[in-house]
């Protein structure tokens, strides 16, 4: 009998430990993410499985792209070193689960900001780093010059788990055209199937079409149609429930855009400390205490600009110089006719 009681108490003790542990993890709030990131020594960032210009790894595993630069900016701001990022390539289907389950802390993966994603599934969008829209790519030889020339029975290749699937249904339904959606989980599989002639057209965000076209066996035989059938504001996403972390990511992105607006770049950032313009001085940490609000030091924004560069530099390096979309279009500053406009850092 005594033995049984002893066994019982040990079982109870075990549960006590389990629950004590669980209540501790649940009580945690107040930028736990920042604390953990500092403890870990790197930022955990979810990116695509390879989309040139946005997030793409070279042969030696170095990631580049404008989505990658957002994560690097956050690493520069929080850890002082833009290289301290661990990138996790995710399919469109996996991306939100990876974020909400805590496998990554930032999702910077050409993800469209929509109401239901923002409000429904425990995510918070922090801004837009690329204004995009959905388009169609067809074979040049088909003679199709506009989406209005699609006929009943057109087969359409695209990616699984994207707004693209919903947009194309809206598009074809509104035009009263029947179509055959062929939906793959990975972008490379879509490209392979379209290339093999399985589909008459390939639809995704126009930037994606421009980037994937380079992977086709004969890129020049294909053309992206002029129409844009949807609004696709792409931007970084964080988990809901850590507003300090959310602010850090938002303002890391905003800093890059504002730096371009004020002409501050990676090579002149140090000199700008002595600028006459207070706005510029704030931007390079020479005036004000902006970092304190996030629990960061005062050089956080200077490090972003020095190590990653401003938005214009990032765009040029990743998207313009690689020949994907040389023309910035709507992704030009508001002062130069685009729609990039961020709240002031003050």
């Amino acid at each position: 009998m005594f033995k049984i009681i002893k066994q019982l108490t040990s079982v109870v003790a075990m549960f006590a430990v389990l629950f004590a542990f669980s209540t501790e993890t649940m009580a945690a709030k107040k930028s736990k993410t920042l604390e953990n990131t500092k403890k870990r020594g790197f930022v955990r960032c979810g990116v695509s499985q390879g989309l040139p210009g946005f997030s793409n790894a070279d042969e030696s595993g170095n990631w580049t792209g404008i989505d990658v630069d957002v994560c690097r900016a956050v690493a520069a701001a929080t850890l002082g070193d833009a290289t301290k990022v661990k990138f996790t390539p995710l399919s469109a289907k996996e991306r939100f689960t990876a974020l909400t389950s805590g496998e990554i802390d930032i999702l910077s993966r050409n993800t469209t900001w929509t109401l239901s994603r923002d409000a429904d599934i425990g995510l918070t969008f922090v801004g837009v780093n690329f204004y995009d829209g959905q388009g169609f790519m067809v074979r040049k030889g088909s003679g199709i010059a506009s989406t209005s020339e699609f006929k009943n029975g057109t087969s359409v290749c695209t990616n699984l788990g994207t707004t693209t699937e919903l947009n194309m249904r809206d598009f074809f339904d509104s035009k009263g055209i029947s179509y055959e959606p062929v939906v793959f989980e990975k972008a490379d599989e879509v490209v392979a199937a379209y290339d093999a002639g399985r589909c008459d057209t390939y639809t995704t965000d126009k930037s994606g079409l421009a980037a994937q076209r380079t992977k086709l066996s004969a890129p020049d035989d294909h053309v992206v149609l002029p129409e844009t059938i949807s609004k696709e504001p792409l931007g970084p996403v964080v988990r809901q429930g850590d507003s300090v972390w959310e602010d850090i990511v938002r303002w890391s992105l905003n800093t890059m855009i504002e730096a371009e607006e004020y002409g501050v770049n990676s090579s002149n950032a140090d000199m700008m400390k002595t600028s006459n313009n207070p706005a510029i001085k704030r931007l390079v940490g020479a005036e004000g205490e902006l970092g304190a609000a996030f629990g960061l030091d005062n050089d956080w924004n200077l490090r972003i600009i020095k190590q990653v560069g401003n938005y214009g530099e990032s765009y040029k390096r990743n998207i313009a110089d690689t020949g994907i979309l040389p023309d910035r279009g709507p992704n030009e500053l508001w002062t130069k006719g685009g729609i990039l406009y961020v709240p002031p850092a003050r």
Partner: protein, 383 residues
């Protein structure tokens, strides 16, 4: 008293432990979801899905509910599993018997076949059949007609559709034929047991199966027409067939890969089953004057089947579960449609993944139940 405590306390503790673990996991998930503002619930099933599916056995469009999208995916999974199970069984039996052949060439080709297809990962085989077939198949306008009216193209296999008139009369006749065959068999068995007379049941059965439906055509007003696929121009260089039925290349590649892969395992089960029946049985059966056909049908097969069925059931279950690899090549099965697109659009990860898991569990248990029933039926009845 002490004995009762010793007997039950550990079991109660074990149950308590399991319940508490589950309770803890649920509570943990619940709290974390609350913290992140994620609702739990199945209300989304009745919402409009607003996405389209490539291939469906039932009427479906984007304005239908998520529940219907689930059904579309489920039926597609069942379809591909069903077709593949039939093909892999036929192929498996042939290969399994071939491995026991005394002909050197047949025996060794069968062995090579088994070793080859069994040892390449299934996902690779699926990719191979899909992309190899896509690259090799002609565009619709260049396709040659097979059997005059079917076209194998990169966009799918187009076959004529059957257009029935008074289909119900035909079905009644077919049903009547099946019932009369069952009655005939029972009568024949009785006749053999009581009077020792044999009648050619098989011949009569085939005759019934042909004559009765034929009568429905002659007198029941049943008619069958065919809608033949016709080439249609989509743009300067792109064509498609309209009319008839189109089997998408994704389905064909998947059936091919699943059947070839699983047939190797079925073949091994069949070989093991036949080799498992002792030689003495065959010799004894022959010595009482049974013909070779009767030996196989009445002595060898009933005993071999008892060895073959349990492991073959496992292979059927594996095949059904493996069909979820369909998502890799865009075949709209349960995983692609429901645990893929629907999950992404609703964000209800826990709900959708649990429903999907339960569904696969139900399918597997159902197949197991059917095979167990069949196994019971043919096992040795000890009196």
């Amino acid at each position: 008293m002490n004995n009762i405590i010793k007997k039950y306390i550990p079991q109660i503790l074990a149950i308590l432990f399991v319940v508490l673990i589950f309770g803890f996991l649920t509570l943990n998930a619940q709290t974390n979801m609350d913290n992140r503002g994620i609702d739990f619930g199945f209300g989304f099933l009745s919402q409009e899905s607003s996405f389209d599916v490539q291939f469906s056995l039932i009427e479906y469009s984007g304005s239908d509910s998520y529940a219907r999208a689930f059904l579309v995916g489920l039926l597609n999974t069942l379809l591909v599993s069903f077709i593949s199970i039939i093909f892999c069984t036929i192929l498996g039996v042939i290969i399994g018997v071939a491995r026991l052949s005394s002909n050197y060439l047949i025996k060794n080709s069968a062995a090579w076949y088994v070793e080859f297809f069994r040892n390449i990962p299934l996902l690779l085989q699926i990719f191979f059949w899909y992309y190899a077939a896509l690259r090799a198949l002609p565009m619709p306008e260049k396709a040659n007609a097979w059997f005059g009216v079917t076209y194998m193209t990169v966009k799918g296999y187009y076959i004529p559709a059957m257009v029935w008139e008074n289909l119900n009369v035909f079905l009644y006749c077919a049903l009547a034929a099946i019932i009369s065959i069952i009655v005939l068999r029972n009568y024949a068995n009785k006749l053999r047991d009581t009077q020792g007379k044999q009648i050619p049941v098989l011949l009569y059965s085939v005759a019934l199966l042909i004559v009765l439906p034929l009568l429905s055509f002659l007198f029941g007003g049943v008619s069958l027409g065919f809608e033949i696929p016709e080439l249609k121009k989509l743009s300067k260089i792109s064509y498609i067939y309209e009319g008839g039925i189109s089997l998408p290349p994704e389905l064909i590649a998947l059936v091919l890969a699943l059947s070839l892969y699983t047939s190797t395992f079925v073949a091994e089960c069949v070989r093991a089953g036949i080799e498992g029946v002792s030689k003495g049985q065959k010799e004894a059966a022959a010595s009482v004057g049974l013909t070779p056909n009767q030996v196989l049908k009445l002595v060898i097969m009933p005993q071999a089947l008892r060895i073959i069925i349990p492991p073959t059931t496992n292979q059927y279950l594996n095949l059904t579960k493996n069909s979820s690899l369909a998502a890799a090549i865009a075949y709209p099965d349960l995983v692609l449609v429901f645990a893929g697109t629907a999950l992404m659009q609703t964000g209800k990860a826990i709900e959708i993944v649990s429903i999907t898991m339960l569904t696969y569990l139900t399918i597997s248990l159902t197949i197991a139940a059917i095979m167990n029933w069949y196994n019971k039926k043919i096992e040795i009845k000890e009196k």
